[in-house]
Symmetry: none
Subunit: 154 residues, 2 copies
DNA sequence: GTGAATACCATTGACGCCCATGGCTACCCA
DNA sequence: TGGGTAGCCATGGGCGTCAATGGTATTCAC
C-alpha cells in the first residue's frame, strides 16, 4: 500500500498549473483514474486531496451506520458534492480551479502535505504556521501513539 | 524479524550523503521500498528513522479514528507530513535533506542509533551526552520493562 | 470567433547511478 | 602462527537522467 509522505512546495504558474509531486503520482499510479480528487477542507484553509480508491472507501463507510455517525454522513455528503477529479497532463501537472485557490489562499506556490492515506494542499506560509502550532503542542503534551500489532505477515 | 541494534558513526560527505550501516540495510532488505523513512523527532534534536512497513502500521493505527484523540491525530499528521522517503544509492548511502541536518545539528559525522523497531540519527557528541544522561537516570530509577509473552510465531 | 483547457516542446538543476579508492577484517595457506 | 590475500564496507567524485518549470501551439467548447 502506498502512502502520501513528506511535504513538497511546487510553483503555481500563470495558468494555475502545478506539478503533483512525482512520489504522489507514483502512489496513485495503480489507480484507474490518472489524477487526484480534490475538495475544500471544512476545518482548515486548505485543499484535501486523495485518490479515487479513498473516495470509494469513504462512500462505503458512509453506507454503514455503525461506522459513521449522522454528522459524519453530513460530512461525507459535503465531500462528495465538493469533490472534483483533477487529471494531470503528460508532465504530471494539474490545473487548480479558482475556488480551490481562493479557499486555500494560494498564489505563487503550493505545498503538498502528505497525511498518509491522503494529502493536503496549503499556502506554504499558512502551513508553516499551522505546523509550528501543532509541533509546539506535541512538545508540551508528549502524546503517545498506540501502535497496532503487525497485521498478517512477518 | 530484524531489529536495529548497536550504534554506528559514519561520515557525511560534502554532498550531504551518509552510508546507512550495512546491518540496518540488511534489516530493511525485505521491504518493498529500498531505503529509509526519516522525520524530525519532535522531542529531541535528532532524526527518527524506520522502514516503510513501520509507517504503514502507523497509518493503519491512524485509520481507526475513534481510537484517536485530537492529540494523536496531531502526531500522525506531523509524522506523515515530515516523513521523507530516502532511498539509498547502490552503495547504500542516503542523501540527508538540509532541514534534517539542521534539526539534528549534523556536520561531519552522523551516529545511527538502533532502537529496536526503529532507529535514530544523532550528532555523535549530542548523542553521547544524551546517553550519559539516560544512563545516570536509569541508575537512579531502576526502570523495569514488562515482557510480553511470546506471540505465536517467530 | 474567442477564450480556456490540453497537448507538445525546451531548459535546467537536482538527484540517482556509476566507477574508483582506501581501510579493515576474516579467511586461507604455508 | 604469521603473512598474504580476498572481500566487504565506507568514502569521494564525475556524469547522465528525470522531474519541475516555463513557454508555445492546437483543439475544444461556448
Amino acid at each position: 500500500m502506498g502512502l502520501f509522505l513528506s511535504t513538497f512546495v511546487n510553483k503555481v504558474d500563470r495558468k494555475g498549473r502545478v506539478s503533483v509531486p512525482a512520489t504522489f503520482r507514483a502512489t496513485l499510479s495503480a489507480q484507474t483514474f490518472q489524477g487526484i480528487i480534490a475538495y475544500r477542507s471544512f476545518t482548515a484553509a486548505c485543499v484535501e486531496g486523495c485518490g479515487m480508491d479513498f473516495m470509494e472507501r469513504l462512500s462505503d463507510s458512509a453506507q454503514s451506520f455503525d461506522a459513521f455517525s449522522a454528522e459524519q454522513e453530513d460530512i461525507s455528503a459535503l465531500i462528495f458534492a465538493d469533490a472534483r477529479q483533477l487529471s494531470w497532463d503528460p508532465e504530471g501537472r494539474i490545473l487548480l480551479p479558482e475556488d480551490l485557490i481562493d479557499h486555500a489562499g494560494l498564489s505563487e506556490t503550493a505545498a503538498f502535505v502528505g497525511k498518509g492515506q491522503t494529502f493536503q494542499i496549503w499556502q506554504p506560509e499558512a502551513y508553516k504556521a499551522m505546523e509550528a502550532e501543532i509541533r509546539s503542542r506535541a512538545l508540551k503534551n508528549r502524546p503517545t501513539l498506540p501502535l497496532k500489532p503487525k497485521t498478517g505477515g512477518a
